[in-house]
């Protein structure tokens, strides 16, 4: 369900590295070459290219990209070139060190912990420790304030069972517990935090479905009835990321485009992080939710190499 398209014959990492090196040489940078190489390789191929490039030229591909590029295109292609775990560790760090941390920023932590596999989250935590000399949960705890802290620390610390193990009984009991806490407007109740941060994704989807059957509303609708504070918004993101990540990312793309100007950081993050996983479904979800074409909307709000790179990740041939 990826939109990323690989060439029928993938050149060797050495050929790719040589093309990249050539693109950096001479007057200016050949952005088209960067896009046509990096924008059409999957994460393990990009890893091989990073390693080969380092061996051939004794310099890091990421550093070369940093020194040659800037702006939204530079940010996007660098994020894409990182190992996915390192990319997400860096995205998390950017959020946590920012002075202003609204839901728009903090939702990145939810995406990493609820819209990725448990093993990916673990790899992100390992990468975070080696890059920043402290743990992801340590930084989350010290730089996020209540009422969001407790939830976020638990989410980023989770290592859920990652196969389908679902109990209808647990779904019923925990739907009741969630309902009880939500009805009492106790959105920071331990039950909510523990259920959302320890149960496996399949179980949680069953629990949410059970909630709807028992109480007539979707759980996020009831959460939103509690108010429109940060915790309500964050919990809604948690539910969406677990229940249907493609809906969440369709919204991220939409929010980044509507209104005045474009939020390029969010748009880049959504496309870069999902192009290899479920972007095809995000596109379908986007069309259903907004009666518009995601691709056309992205084209309408971007330009130049940045646009071309995003469209390449979206699988649009030139």
């Amino acid at each position: 369900m990826a939109t990323l398209k690989l060439p029928e014959v993938v050149p060797s990492p050495t050929e790719d590295s040589e093309r990249l090196k050539k693109a950096f040489q001479g007057f200016g940078t050949d952005e088209k070459a960067l896009i046509s190489v990096l924008g059409r390789r999957n994460s393990s191929q990009r890893k091989q290219i990073r390693e080969t490039y380092q061996q051939l030229y004794n310099e890091s591909l990421i550093d070369s990209l940093h020194s040659e590029l800037s702006g939204d295109f530079g940010t996007a292609i660098i994020l894409w070139t990182y190992d996915p775990a390192e990319r997400d560790a860096r995205l998390a760090k950017d959020v946590l060190k920012a002075k202003k941390k609204g839901i728009k920023h903090l939702q990145v932590l939810v995406e990493i912990s609820c819209a990725s596999s448990p093993n990916h989250l673990m790899a992100v935590r390992q990468s975070y420790c080696s890059l920043f000399e402290c743990s992801l949960e340590e930084d989350t705890e010290s730089s996020v304030s209540e009422p969001l802290r407790k939830l976020l620390v638990s989410l980023v610390s989770s290592y859920r069972y990652d196969k389908e193990a679902v109990s209808s009984e647990v779904a019923k009991i925990e739907a009741e517990r969630l309902h009880e806490a939500i009805s009492g407007k106790q959105l920071d109740h331990d039950h909510i935090i523990w259920i959302l941060s320890t149960r496996n994704f399949f179980q949680l989807r069953k629990t949410f479905a059970c909630y709807r059957e028992l109480y007539g509303n979707k759980i996020e609708e009831d959460i939103n009835k509690c108010g429109n504070g940060d915790l309500e918004s964050l919990l809604t993101v948690v539910v969406w990321c677990i229940d249907c990540p493609e809906k969440h990312f369709a919204k991220v793309v939409r929010d980044s485009i509507v209104g005045w100007g474009t939020d390029e950081d969010s748009l880049t993050r959504a496309i870069v992080t999902r192009a290899e996983t479920d972007m095809l479904r995000v596109r379908v979800e986007y069309a259903q939710m907004y009666k518009k074409s995601l691709d056309e909307d992205v084209i309408g709000d971007t330009s130049g190499d940045y646009r071309e790179f995003l469209m390449t990740l979206l699988g649009r041939e030139k």
Copy 2:
């Protein structure tokens, strides 16, 4: 600082597997042979033996041990033969599924999360998921009750930075926070839980030292002044496991021996889990704390193959 002694020339995994297979054959089992092979190999050698044995005989070494052995000797040598992460995952499961869960049992979870490396804990969590189809934190949450649950769930979910990164400023601030919570007898305060479950071990040792400088008492002394409930006991184990694991394990050995009868499960666990890491220091600590010889005490309370196996792990040549 291990007590485990390897032979000067280590036989190949094939030779070892053949000796083990032979020990199982014929009338009865040759326990001495099992001890002299398995009791003198480190974890990576035991892993190779498990793999080679499986290839050679198309059966699992662990299964063979299970079908041939019983009693305390069987339990000990099987625990020793497991991969350390699987061993600890199984120890944790035993604790969590037991009906009676006193501090003596629950402290196993603290040992795994506070007296092991962060990467080992992560491996235990992965092993737990693949063995038991649910996560360690999920089981901890559903089978431990308050006031211990919150602390234990946080501890088993931790992935601490594992190098020495210490700030005197953090030590001072967090010693104050700990003191404030302890003075107010709020041992389940979020500050206590977060500090103990997210900070790296080096930082925490500095924080405990700073606590003592500032307030004149060791932190565990002040914790114990709050009462003699389960939370007080468990927090003391946490502080010891972080500050000086060898002290904790000296106490585990001692407690397993003193009084009527022997608590073989605890004795086995302490020796099996520490023989390859810090058992030499546990022995020194034991002598200082109890003015007795750990080895002599173990000899005095055990017998037969079980005794011989433990003494082999303690590095005593026949």
